[in-house]
Amino acid sequence: MLFPESNNKRKNRRVVITGAGIITGHGNGWHDNAEGFRSGNVALRPVTLFDTSRQRVSIAAEVRLPESAPDTLLPIKQVRRLDRAGIMLLHAVHQAYAQSQWNAHEDTPVIMGTTSGGMALGEVYFRHATRSPAKHRGQPTRAYIYQAQTQVRLAAEAVGCYGPITIISNACASGANALGLAWEWVHGGRADRVLTGGYDALSELVFTGFNSLQSLSPTGCRPFDAARDGLSIGEGAAAFTLETLDSAEARGAPILGEITGYAACIDTHHLTQPHPEGDAAVFTMTRACRSAGVAPEDIDYVNAHGTGTPANDGSEAIALRRWAGRHVSSLNVSSTKAGIGHLLGAAGAVEAAACLMAVQGQWLPPETSINEPDPLCEFNIIRRPMGSKIEYALSNSFGFGGANATLILRRWS
């Protein structure tokens, strides 16, 4: 029963990650992505999925999809109907599930974040409907697979996960909100396990949208650079299996890390611009730390939202200073968007994966493309690969419409 819940549920349970799957411009799977984040590789390249010749910008962090889909419970006929977004989600979910060694055929809840679902397929539908209105072949399938609930349902079914599905679409905070809500459910006793994550694929509508807002960088995004000139779009997916510590220990599952805190709120300043002083970001970072029982000085690494736009990075830099106070100068900060672009609804989940890799590998992800840090940044911007002791990592995600979210991850030892 979804409501009311049992009065007997145990609260304040520790929530651990026992499986993580990821696909981005860095590659498919943990190894390629960990190496990409650790070394600060830049995956931006010319867009091949659609024509960008009439746009200001023509680069993005496209995923090089593997030639074959993973071997799952989903019939091959169903897999062939999936679009790019669905295939990426399938890869991420399959990796996470395989790593967790969860059993198939469980009614585990699923919480996923996305901003555009199968938008690229929607674009095909649109073109077909407007240019060939008398031809209907393929249109029902497009309309069906386009919907986020179909993609998430099929990806979950592919690994034998049959539980209730919740899809959050809070713009660029969607992935972080999905992980955060999943954490709340396990932490608060609403579920023992949750399959969660975020995904978004590159689409012409979204790319053109950011281009129309003059938000895209023609040269590649350089978050927190004094001369930053915009963001770069990326695509990908990340998925996680979250469960209680008791559950993981009882079955002897390897634990990758722990999620210890989460907070979210809305910045009502403007639909597309953050509050210049970063009020909402200060709120979510403070509240997330409180829920994790840590202070700013306990945070060893901040994976900033850091889009590379003048407004976002300026606001976030001020927010970090306000939140960290006198500890700001010792704060290690970077934005992995410098390497893989902005993954929109997948960003929060993929960046949580980057944090997980960092706390597990004890290294800091650098931004190798930054030239001259913005003087607003009173923190250490990680500019070259380096090892470091990391106990806690904090990940920020801010989105269109003011959706703000902060996650805190802890090393498992």
């Binding site: 055929h105 407007t130 049959y162 959050i168 419409g401």
Partner: protein
């Protein structure tokens, strides 16, 4: 755990801006008119039930945030203001608890702006309007509502099939029950254009799409002597290779109380034998009154998902009814049910809903 009450309902539908329109259409079996919807490239138009234009426009549209917002946002805002019992250009927000959550549920989202923007993008991406793009984002309506209401702590946009609205009710109610929120607004909304109607046509040539919104204002405290309580929301029975749509509906039905002669069922029937087969089968033998808003208001997607519980709450204002079951057998994701109970108090309940079967 605290109980959760419905402290207000709001609605926009092809029957008008307000719950009264829905009330008249559903309980008096007065279907909203069917209009033609031009489908470019076809000789034959599509059909739709349109939300009537309001003239003059509602005062809340003067809010700066709503200047370039979508019809969907207008519907959602109107339903929310009605549920909160506030209105005007400068609504009194003091009646809303500070820790009020906002959950907005959508299936198709802001299709008007998406259509216009992509049209421009295909024509010439270099000149596509930056004013249109932000409104294409699923979360734009929730952001506008949060801004207008100045409630910022828990604001989520949920996407899915129409049963998602009940999923959101459970989520908001759970937060209230455990004391995290004192109140929560749950809104389901949808707008319509020819492209969405075209998509529906590919699955069902005879369906009549529509648009609108429904909102429930959940609270830990009832303001009425006759309190309506959200008693339960069933599990979400997800469709998959092991559980087809019919089987999911059966399990949802089994998770709800069997009902009695003084109880109401609000379901998703459209008044068409083939389309209604599952719900007719699953709910055969229902002993009480039965209302089917989609039969008179059309296929409103997520808005229809919200109209069902709004109808249930309206029916419970009639003191002949003590409880209402809501049955949502979603298009392509899940079946979920809910149950509302009226707790009779000292006050006189209004008696507007007749007994009967509201399906055409």
């Amino acid at each position: 755990m605290r109980k959760v009450y419905i402290n207000g309902t709001g609605c926009v539908s092809p029957a008008g801006w307000g719950v009264d329109g829905l009330h008249n259409a559903v309980f008096n079996n007065s279907p909203a008119p069917v209009h033609e919807l031009e489908r470019p490239g076809w000789e034959e138009p599509l059909k739709m039930r349109a939300v009537p234009r309001l003239s003059p426009p509602p005062a809340f549209l003067r809010h700066p945030r709503l200047r370039r917002s979508s019809p969907l946002t207008h519907y959602a805002a109107s339903a929310v203001f009605e549920a909160l019992k506030v209105g005007g250009a400068n609504p009194d927000l003091s009646v809303i608890p500070q820790n009020t959550g906002i959950l907005v549920c959508l299936q198709s989202g802001c299709v008007h702006y998406s259509y216009r923007f992509f049209n421009e993008a295909l024509d010439n991406p270099a000149t596509a309007s930056p004013l249109l793009f932000p409104e294409t984002v699923y979360s734009a309506p929730a952001s506008h509502l949060a801004c207008i209401l100045q409630r910022t702590e828990i604001v989520y946009t949920l996407v899915g099939d129409p049963a998602t609205f009940l999923r959101a009710l459970a989520l908001g109610a759970g937060w209230i029950a455990e004391g995290r929120l004192d109140a929560c607004l749950v809104v389901g909304a949808e707008e319509l254009n020819w492209l969405l109607a075209d998509a529906l046509w590919h699955f069902d040539h005879h369906a009549v799409p529509s648009a609108g919104a429904g909102a429930l204002f959940l609270s830990a405290f009832s303001e009425c002597s006759d309190a309506i309580e959200l008693a339960l929301v069933t599990d979400a029975f997800t469709y998959n290779s092991r559980l087809n749509r019919h089987e999911a509906a059966v399990r949802m039905r089994e998770a709800l109380p069997p009902g009695s002669g003084n109880e109401v069922l609000c379901d998703g029937r459209e008044g068409r034998t083939l389309k209604d087969k599952i719900e007719n089968s699953v709910w055969s033998g229902w002993p009480g009154a039965r209302f089917s808003p989609k039969a008179t208001l059309g296929e409103g997607f997520m808005a229809a998902g919200a109209w069902l519980p709004v109808t249930a709450c309206e029916a419970l204002k009639d003191n002949r009814y003590t409880a209402a079951n809501v049955s949502v057998v979603g298009n392509d994701q899940q079946a979920i049910g809910a149950r509302f109970i009226r707790h009779a108090g000292a006050g006189e309940a209004s008696s507007r809903a007749p007994a009967g079967d509201g399906a055409a």
